[in-house]
Amino acid sequence: MALEAQEVEKIAHLARLGIDPDDISEYARNLSDILAFVEQLNSVDTRGVEPLAHPLDATQRLRPDVVTETDERENFLRNAPLTEAGLYLVPKVIE
């Protein structure tokens, strides 16, 4: 499967990556190679094989419904570039 430039741009947009238009054709080539490599798996007959959700042969451990976390707001807020009134401030996003 060969990717078009347009698809590369879409993937970059969904991942919020800024890419140099000059690099698009190389990305397209590299990504297409990766897809071609993985596509070899399609030659395996997987009828009757249950899809794998996780490589470990284990099931989810559960934790009891108990609150053990304490308020660490001041520590966490210190890592943010902008805060006010206990809130993290980010560029305006409104739909």
Binding site: L62, E69, G86, V90, E95
Partner: protein, 478 residues
Amino acid sequence: MEWETVIGLEIHAQLATRSKIFSAASTRYGAEPNTQACAVDLGLPGVLPVLNAEVVRMAVKFGLATHSSVAPRSVFARKNYFYPDLPKGYQISQYELPIVHDGYLDIEVDEDTVKRIGITRAHLEEDAGKSLHEDFHGLTGIDLNRAGTPLLEIVSEPDMRSAKEAVAYMKKIHSLVQYLGICDGNMQEGSFRCDANVSVRPQGQEAFGTRAELKNINSFRFVEQAINYEVERQIALLESGGTVVQETRLFDADRHETRPMRTKEEANDYRYFPDPDLLPVEIDPAFIAEVTQTLPELPEVKKQRFMDDYGLSAYDAGVLTATRELGDYFEAVVGVSGGLGKLSANWVMGELSGALNKAGLEIGSSPVSAEALGGMLRRIEDGTISGKIAKQVFEALWAGAGSADEVIESQGLMQITDSSAIEDIIRGVLENSPKQVEQYRTGQEKVFGYFVGQVMKATQGKANPKQVNELLKKMIND
């Protein structure tokens, strides 16, 4: 052309746990911003989600109560999108293998129509944080207390055909999750909200029309309004030669319209994949059996029992079992009244519900206790007061004037059942109304009601109406 409306609902019920779905931070509502958002909720590097056992139990309860299949193995998936109140850049949800699937719920559309609504699936997921757009020098404030709050998303089949049916279904789910104790149902606080998928098609056509998704509706009234507006919009659009676009729309309650959300291209390209941080959840039959033991009496079972035990109509039983609190109150009234099922139903659904509605109160905060109401019904039954006087007693109970017996005693409302006393009054009325007596004797029997009215007036409503009728009939013909 005749159009048919097709509606499917996605309901988000916030599960009533103490801690979050994947972290041990508190879910308590109304805390100071970001004081209940821990490293896991913030999506800091190196943290791992650990699933809360209680959310699994609650989802299984819901599955059992809706005749659904509980998946022996379900998987969490990442739903990828960027928004500042979603710190990880993905929401942990379930996609291909939800924990609950293929169930149904019966709804009462009106007094004699029951309709079965299919439940496609119910899956577990985490809620996002909250964005505050006002007043931060052109910036947006982010509160992540709600991030990681457990949600059960309940997806119906497109089985509803009117806004009314959609509301009936939503109310039924709302009641059920509260019966089960898995959600507090508080719509103001966002614990219970709904998206509606709405489309129209020509009557008789099999294929569905293109649907619009109405987002985040948080009241029953708004669901009905939003759907009705959207249906009108789509029909007008189609009849003028246009086409409906599949899109997400917001309901504006103030402007009475739905309008499109400004959506970027590829907005719905979520690129789901199984979350490698979480293992498949396995549920064995022993656990299901254990949860089954803890189920309360469900609304439909209670409804049938009310019909069987108290001789109520399906409609009355449905109304009285709409919430667990109302059912409990009704049964307490029946108990105190000494088993007067029908009379209790009439008073709870009539006078009491009317007064509560008017005062904007829930049954839980009724000024008239079940003991007080049941005590009054006992006095109707034993003839101490008439049904009419009872309304007066009820008002006094509502105003906090004590028990029914105290009210009857202090206001002298006891019914007059002494025949000779009533006869004296009737005699007086007849003597004062020679004209009407003449009319009656010449065949105008409808003046009979006038005499009854006069007697009741003379006794301030305290005479036993049945007795008045009998005695009057006898005396007027003498």
